[in-house]
């Protein structure tokens, strides 16, 4: 058989170097070709990750036992000898940039699975990669000049097969250096709130069409990065794509839940999903709570757990000794069972009364969950003017720091309605103690509850926050701007000091949550928004003359009128018989039970993306807990691959 020359560009020789020419015959297999190239370059290195890329056909030559003939390669083929793994700049759901080695040769699904393994995110099938919004040339330059983006580097990590071993719940590859630990912290601890300015600069979708545009940027899961024109060091966004989160487990899913929370938070802040004002306040309160807890958990981390444990042990021991010696059991019981009380002069105002007397000073005592008040301290032994049980009442702050007004507004339920009462305190400290007691009492708890002190601190912290807000724009960790907790719409609508009491009010319902619970709660509220989990596409239904919106979620397809925004029709996957894609005319056709047939072509996105979304959700619904951990990639590709899978 006749030999001919094959030109192969070897990247390691430098961009200017001419292609290496080797003499081959048609029956030479790919492995042989690679061997000859390596010989020719005379470079000693580990070539195991290298493979041949056929430029014209946009194809990897990965089957080393195939011959050149079988691949159909002739002398005019432009081949590149290049590594299969190259670094990319991955933008995580928390908007941090991470440099990581990505598989450029396998289908994107595989690339994502590999990266998620490094990042310690379970169920990688729920995530995928997006191309970033194309930035304007000017802006890009400006960004480069600022050079503020901190880039975390994980390119050095090479994982052996099998599940990574864990140290204290952290994968081994994150504990070997301080840099890696910092990366793990970035992954597992939520990021501080962004400043309102950065938020306002970021892209926000304004309408359904904008939202549909986002979905046109998803990469194709069944083709490789290289095939989709992604180059080394390109930026790619990693996001949760399929909104059916399987088996969330706080124990194993620290990174997953944190990133999910971050994605949810950005979706709320950037108005990618609509919510009501009340929901926004709750989201803001949860963010505030999570930010605060993240800071403290960070300190714990630094001081080291072991040290803290030892301290606790010794403290417990000394406590034991003390109790044995100094206290008789009765005293001890009393100390356990006695409930702290508050006593002070406060001013009371009852708007219900017709007299316009305003605030009246009285002696107040707070016992259990009840407030009693007397004319004066001296009369506190007698009958109170009134006793109010705060259980089940509504507590709201009425505070104006500039005006030194610290009022607690109480709505106390009574059989014939709610009694409105204002209590005015002298200063922050008094206010925070009484306010905390009122809050606990409204939930039926007394000041003996362990959360009392932290509640007092919470309220004080909130007040300080409000104090510093006007004028100063310092976004230090301790001092969070309330504007950074809500979306720009509400930043415009309310001043920071108007937001503070509302967020504080919402905060009292979540103040007792642990960090992880708070994140999960945030995700849950996000999930229960009516528009949650809907991915939009602009489509044209067969026989229709105007564009409409197709919404795809984990259980149904909805058809939305573009002009009004109303849902016109819903189809559920349960009733779906089959769906087909005509790749020639790029049309998706779906058949439902009862002879319902729909067909549409996709306007904003490739029909492959729509096809993959539907197939993906059907794949997600096939998962169950029994067949844990083993991801059926083959089935995924079968359901989502389209013509490539055939």
């Amino acid at each position: 058989m006749a030999n001919w020359d094959l030109q192969v560009t070897v990247e390691d020789l430098g961009p200017e170097a001419p292609p290496v020419s080797i003499s081959v015959a048609g029956d030479l297999h790919i492995g042989g070709v690679i061997l000859r190239i390596v010989d020719k370059t005379q470079i000693q290195k580990n070539w195991s990750d290298y493979a041949l890329w056929w430029e014209q056909k946009k194809q990897w030559l990965l089957k080393t036992n195939w011959t050149l003939d079988k691949y159909g390669i002739l002398a005019d083929a432009k081949l590149f000898f290049t590594p299969q793994h190259k670094p990319i700049r991955l933008v995580l759901p928390n908007n941090c940039n991470l440099k990581i080695n990505a598989n450029f040769a396998g289908p994107v699904l595989r690339t994502v699975i590999d990266m998620c393994k490094i990042l310690n995110i379970r169920h990688p099938e729920e995530l995928s990669l997006l191309k970033p919004v194309e930035e304007k040339e000017k802006k890009r330059k400006k960004d480069k000049e600022e050079g503020v983006e901190e880039i975390y580097d994980l390119t050095g990590v090479v994982l052996s097969g099998g599940a990574p071993t864990l140290y204290n719940g952290v994968p081994a590859h994150f504990v070997d250096s301080p840099e890696k630990e910092a990366i793990y912290k970035m992954l597992s601890v939520s990021q501080p709130a962004p400043s309102p300015e950065t938020m306002s600069k970021m892209y926000r979708p304004g309408n359904l069409i904008d939202k549909a545009q986002i979905n046109s940027r998803w990469l194709d899961s069944s083709r490789s990065l290289m095939q989709q024109g992604i180059l080394e060091n390109d930026r790619l966004l990693m996001r949760f794509k399929y909104y059916s989160f399987f088996d969330l487990e706080p124990k194993y899913d620290v990174v997953r839940i944190t990133q999910m929370y971050e994605q949810a938070r950005w979706a709320i802040l950037l108005e990618e999903i609509d919510c009501t004002e009340e929901e926004m306040m709750l989201f803001a309160a949860l963010q505030y709570h999570i930010n605060k807890l993240s800071l403290t958990s960070d300190h714990n981390h630094r001081s080291g757990n072991d040290q803290a444990l030892e301290d606790l042990d010794s403290a417990l021991q000394s406590l034991e000794v003390k109790m044995d010696n100094s206290l008789s059991s009765t005293e001890m019981l009393e100390s356990i069972t006695s409930i702290p009380e508050l006593k002070d002069y406060l001013k009371i105002f009852r708007p219900k009364r017709l007299t316009l007397k305003g605030y009246k000073q009285c002696w107040f005592t707070f016992k259990d969950t009840s407030i009693s008040y007397f004319k004066s301290k001296e009369e506190s032994m007698g009958e109170p003017i009134q006793q109010m049980n705060l259980k089940g009442c509504e507590v709201a702050p009425d505070v104006n720091i500039a005006g030194q007004k610290f009022c607690i507004k109480l709505l106390i339920p009574a059989p014939d309605g709610m009694n409105e009462i204002y209590l005015r305190c002298d200063d922050e400290k008094q206010y925070s103690r009484w306010m905390a007691a009122c809050r606990l009492a409204s939930k039926g708890k007394t000041m003996a509850d362990s959360s009392y002190q932290s509640e007092v601190q919470n309220i004080l912290a909130f007040l300080t926050m409000q104090k510093k807000n006007p004028g100063t724009q310092v976004a230090s960790d301790e001092n969070i701007n309330t504007h950074s907790l809500v979306s720009p719409r509400y930043q415009k609508k309310y001043k920071a000091k108007q937001l503070t009491p509302r967020i504080l009010e919402a905060h009292q319902n979540v103040a007792q949550l642990t960090l992880m619970d708070a994140k999960i709660r945030f995700i849950q509220i996000w999930q229960s928004l009516p528009d949650f989990g809907l991915s939009y596409f602009v489509v044209r239904f067969k026989g229709c003359r105007k564009d409409e919106i197709l919404g795809i979620s984990n259980n149904r397809l909805i058809r939305i009128d573009l002009s009004i925004g109303d849902v016109v029709k819903t189809w559920r996957y349960n009733n779906m018989r089959q769906w087909n894609v005509n790749w020639d005319i790029r049309q998706v056709a779906i058949e439902f039970d009862g002879n319902v047939n729909i067909a549409f072509s996709c306007v904003t996105a490739d029909c492959k993306i729509v096809h993959e979304y539907i197939g993906g959700y059907i794949f997600m619904s096939t998962r169950n807990k029994d067949q844990n951990d083993v991801l059926n990639e083959e089935l995924f590709h079968k359901l989502t691959g389209g013509n490539e899978a055939l």
């Binding site: 059916s244 989160f245 969330l248 609509d274 919510c275 009501t276 004002e277 009340e278 929901e279 709750l282 044995d324 008789s328 059991s329 009765t330 001890m332 019981l333 356990i336 069972t337 089940g392 509504e394 339920p413 009574a414 059989p415 014939d416 309605g417 709610m418 719409r489 319902n509 999960i520 995700i523 849950q524 509220i525 999930q527 229960s528 928004l529 009516p530 528009d531 259980n555 925004g565 819903t570 349960n574």
Partner: protein, 616 residues
């Protein structure tokens, strides 16, 4: 012994009456009989009903108490605690003597002396009238002195720790709040239960399942009626009973019913009707239902049904209703402000669910000139009277009302609702196994039941008063017998908190042919359920039908109503047989009479006893 003779003749008289009453069962009732099976009529208000509390109620309560006390003799503390409690409950349950004249006629048949001089279970029985006969009684928790049992300092550390633990438990126990509650059954009889703070509605339902012979299906619920506001709601299974009842005012006329409500768990039986839009009400395969429920209730967060539409809102303080467009979200109910669209960001919050419960409003067309009678009410649980803080909403039709109430419950309770349902299903499953065993007997007895009407003669129905007098004479008789039997030492009307529990056990007579025995058995924990349903207070007969209308049937697609219950000449109570009738009933009179089977059971026991006695 004269007493017993007299009692027997009374008994025969009463039996006569009963058979006569069966003859005229075709007389239509005055009260509108809805197809709803749960319809319960009777006491106009709980107050009166409590005034009219019969001995059997008290006895049942005693049995409850005895069961709950557990080991009363073991500690003085537990002892005094419960006895105080008991005393309290008696005080409130007892009607003030002066109210007898003005009360329902039945009450007059029970001379106050029967209580005060009775040696029956509680010697500490105070005859003193309680100033306001509250329907429920809060027992004052006895402040316990934990130091008392812990004085021995020389004991070892281990023992010390144990004692502290014990003391803490005691302390906790002493603080457990207990209430006495009267639950009205479907046959309009009532049961008096003691519930404590630790009990959920589920616990009480289980308790009632044991005591009644209902089929224990998932629709059984405790149903709160606020007659003043004309609102009612299903107590959720996880609700804390004591907490719910504590919200009532002291003069409350609220009632608790033990009834079946198809709407209790309608969403779990037919989720498609709630989740697939209102128009597509249809059947679905069980498997699909399951997956639909899984989808909506088993994810990381539950999914609230999509629900929006125009509702009428009652304006504050006025009798006018204004239409608004409302939307249900997991975070609350919202409305579309004037001139705005229904996009999320424009919505105004109408109410959030943290502090409100949802109730049905009944007959609001009359009460508040509502556009329809399909109303629901949102209010803080503590509000019991009319107030601007109560929100009244009105739907166009019954189905829309069902959707809203269910939707709100889903939004408010979330997964708990589903968990409750699954527990209820489990309980129902267990119960059905038992009822299968009982079925054979039930069928046998039902055959006999059918035979009864043929015995009925053509006698005209007699007026009801004689019935009451018969039964009161009867109860008087047994009390006198009881008194003679009881230990004189305990019959002193001591107001001091004497321990009730030992008393009860002491007065338990040896298992003889004694009519008292049948009554006394009620004190034995666990009580045989058969003896529980003693004749309902006789005032039922003379009581006019209550003026409230029953709630609309819960579900339009609910199965057809059961065969119309047998009717009595008396206007009121409709007997509803729940589940298989209890086995081992032999007397034929049982069936159609509104006295229910239990009374006949009791009487047959009595009769047997008498026969034995006379044969001596």
């Amino acid at each position: 012994m004269d007493d017993i003779e007299a009692m027997f003749s009374d008994l025969l008289g009463e039996m006569d009456l009963l058979t006569q009453s069966l003859g005229v069962e075709t007389v239509p009732p005055e009260a509108p009989l809805q197809k709803e099976v749960n319809y319960s009529i009777g006491f106009k208000d709980l107050n009166e009903s409590l005034n009219a509390l019969e001995d059997n109620d008290l006895d049942a309560l005693m049995a409850d108490l005895a069961a709950e006390i557990g080991e009363p003799q073991q500690s003085q503390k537990g002892h005094s605690n419960t006895s105080v409690l008991y005393q309290d409950s008696q005080a409130a349950l007892l009607p003030p003597p002066q109210s007898y004249s003005s009360g329902p006629p039945a009450a007059t048949t029970l001379p106050p002396i029967a209580y005060s001089s009775s040696a029956s279970p509680a010697p500490s029985f105070p005859a003193a009238p309680s100033p306001s006969p509250a329907p429920i009684v809060t027992s004052t928790p006895v402040p316990s002195q934990p130091s008392k049992p812990l004085t021995k300092e020389e004991e070892e550390a281990q023992a010390k720790a144990d004692k502290i633990k014990l003391a803490l438990e005691k302390l906790k126990e002493a603080k457990v709040k207990k209430l006495v509650v009267k639950v009205i059954m479907t046959d309009n009889s009532s049961k008096t239960l003691m519930v404590d703070e630790t009990q959920t509605v589920r616990d009480i339902l289980d308790n009632l399942f044991e005591k009644t012979h209902c089929d224990c299906n998932v629709d059984w619920c405790l149903y709160e009626e606020n007659t003043y506001l004309q609102i009612e709601r299903i107590f959720e299974d996880h609700d804390n009973m004591v907490e719910c009842l504590s919200q009532w005012t002291r003069d409350s006329e609220n009632r608790i019913l033990f009834i079946e409500r198809k709407d209790k768990y309608a969403v779990f039986k037919n989720p498609q009707n709630f989740y697939f839009g209102r128009k597509e009400k249809k059947e679905m395969k069980e498997k699909d239902k399951e997956s639909l429920l899984e989808e909506n209730f088993c994810g990381t967060s539950i999914i609230v049904p999509d629900l929006e539409g125009a509702l009428y809102l009652k304006e504050d303080g006025k009798k006018s209703w204004k239409q608004r467009y409302f939307l249900l979200r997991a975070s609350g109910i919202y409305y579309v402000p004037k001139g705005k669209t229904k996009t999320s960001r424009d919505l105004a919050c109408f109410v959030q669910f943290d502090n409100v419960n949802v109730h049905y409003g009944t007959d609001y067309k009359n009460k508040y000139k509502a556009p329809t009678d399909y109303c629901f009410v949102l209010k803080h649980p503590q509000i019991q009277k009319e107030s601007n803080y109560i929100k009244y909403l009105c739907c166009d039709d019954r189905w829309s009302l069902q959707l809203w109430v269910m939707g709100i419950r889903i939004a408010k309770y979330g997964k708990i609702l589903y968990d409750n349902y699954r527990t209820a299903v489990q309980k129902a499953g267990l119960a059905s196994r038992w009822s299968n065993l009982a079925n054979v007997e039930a069928i046998a007895s039902s055959v006999k039941t059918k035979a009864v009407p043929t015995q009925a003669n053509g006698c005209p129905a007699q007026a009801t008063p004689p019935v009451t007098s018969v039964s009161s004479a009867f109860s008087d008789a047994w009390k006198r017998a009881d008194m003679s039997k009881a230990n004189p030492a305990e019959s002193k009307p001591a107001p001091a908190p004497a321990p009730p529990a030992p008393t009860m056990q002491e007065i338990l007579p040896p298992p003889p042919p004694d009519p008292i025995m049948t009554q006394q058995e009620c004190f034995l924990p666990p009580p045989p359920p058969d003896f529980y349903d003693l004749p309902p207070p006789p005032d039922d007969f003379s009581e006019p039908p209550p003026d409230f209308l029953p709630p609309p049937p819960p579900c339009p697609n609910a199965p057809p109503p059961p065969p119309p219950p047998l009717l009595t000449p008396a206007p009121a109570p409709v007997l509803k047989k729940v589940g298989p009738p209890p086995p081992k009933r032999t007397t034929p009179e049982r069936s159609g009479s509104l006295h229910g089977g239990e009374q006949q059971d009791f009487m047959s026991e009595l009769m047997k006893a008498m026969q034995k006695k006379s044969s001596k």
